[in-house]
Point group: C2
Chain length 209, copies 2
DNA sequence: GTGAAATGATAGTCAAGACTATTGTTTTGG
DNA sequence: CCAAAACAATAGTCTTGACTATCATTTCAC
């Protein structure tokens, strides 16, 4: 098992200009992630591109993993807010399916909108730091889904529903990642099919009284 | 976009001892992958642990990515052979589900049996080289699944079936990866649930005449 | 306005890691 | 058994990249 090197921020921005520097570092890192990929990304590279110097970066981030972690968390936060903001009109299979499809499509959209969103999605598997960010986010999403389902049917076993929700979340994300990986496939069709599968699962869970 | 650095082997083993060296390099790389993770793995480290020297490694591999690629391909090959060896007794929903479950369970088993199998699975997302290996393997699996389905019902549209198969394969692998990522969840339950979802999908595809 | 805190730049250090020119040693075909 | 090929080691080179000690400048509190 690999050690976990990362920490939190080093210094909190207090003046306007540092706020800018902080954001610039993140934006530049995202840009570079898109251009050169995860493996070639380095702090020196980020600094050079941003017109900054290493100490400026290291004032705000204890090490390079912290930069990546923050980037990942930004995206995960955006995606989860989206997910948790949506509720099905009813619990009919069709409404559930529509809602899920909406979430999937919207998630793809916000990911595209964010610089290097697609790359960040893929890099989430590329480092222990980011893997942790990803799994926490998915757990949170599964928790939310579990409570949604159990609000509808309280007799269901908490742990079992959670396990299935967790699987569902993972499969949803797998479909989303496919959109970014496999450009030959029809995006709308892919998401629709995934939404269909997931909706059926949710309905089935609800019925297992 | 990142450049792709890797190439094929440099020298084919011709004597017994070189065969050993070759295998030793791969085995050591797998071991180290398990111990230190993907990011900290280096060629020098592999050599040291294997009791070899860098030139010995570079006789057989043009660069470090080639080592990883070979490791990934070994695992993918094993998994795909397994997958393509299985055929459902019948095309009833239950038989399909059983077959899928068998494949999932067996895949987890062979992955566990291989040194660093779990790590390799996760590292498949960690580098462009390995991402390519992974996607090729999944495409091949989806092709196989497509022909299996179309052998049963030739009226189905090839591309549509392929897209859905591809999604199915991805979801199956997502479930398998979860087994290695999320140890808190019940493995058998996870795989059973995934098999159920996938079987339903296959049945639905077959019925869309 | 001025001193202190905050911010950033100069100019590096240092370690690690990918990869090799060369030389020695083992194996094998004849 | 010997020459040539195959194999592996010696001993590096050279680049890159994470990270810092120190000094300069900007901003803010008062």
């Amino acid at each position: 098992m690999s050690a976990s090197p990362p920490l939190k921020k080093r210094s909190e921005p207090r003046q306007g200009r540092s706020e800018k520097t902080y954001d610039l570092i993140l934006a530049t890192a995202a840009e570079l992630l898109e251009e050169v990929g995860f493996e070639r990304l380095s702090t020196n590279m980020i600094c050079k591109r941003a017109g900054l110097t290493p100490p400026a970066l290291y004032r705000y981030f204890p090490n390079k993993y912290a930069v990546l972690k923050e980037l990942g968390e930004q995206l995960m936060r955006t995606q989860n807010e989206l997910f948790e903001g949506m509720e099905p009109r009813s619990f009919s299979k069709d409404d559930i399916e529509h809602t899920i499809l909406d979430v999937l499509v919207a998630t793809v959209a916000v990911t595209r909108a964010q610089t290097a969103g697609a790359w960040i999605m893929r890099s989430l598997h590329a480092s222990p730091v980011l893997a942790e960010v990803r799994i926490n986010s998915h757990r949170q999403a599964a928790q939310f889904l579990t409570s949604l389902i159990r609000a509808r049917n309280e007799t269901l076993d908490q742990d079992q529903v959670y396990a299935k929700s967790r699987l569902g979340v993972e499969l949803g994300y797998a479909a989303i990642e496919m959109v970014f990986d496999e450009t030959e496939l029809d995006e709308a069709e892919l998401l629709a099919e995934a939404a269909n599968m997931l909706a059926r699962t949710v309905v089935r869970i609800l019925q297992e009284a």
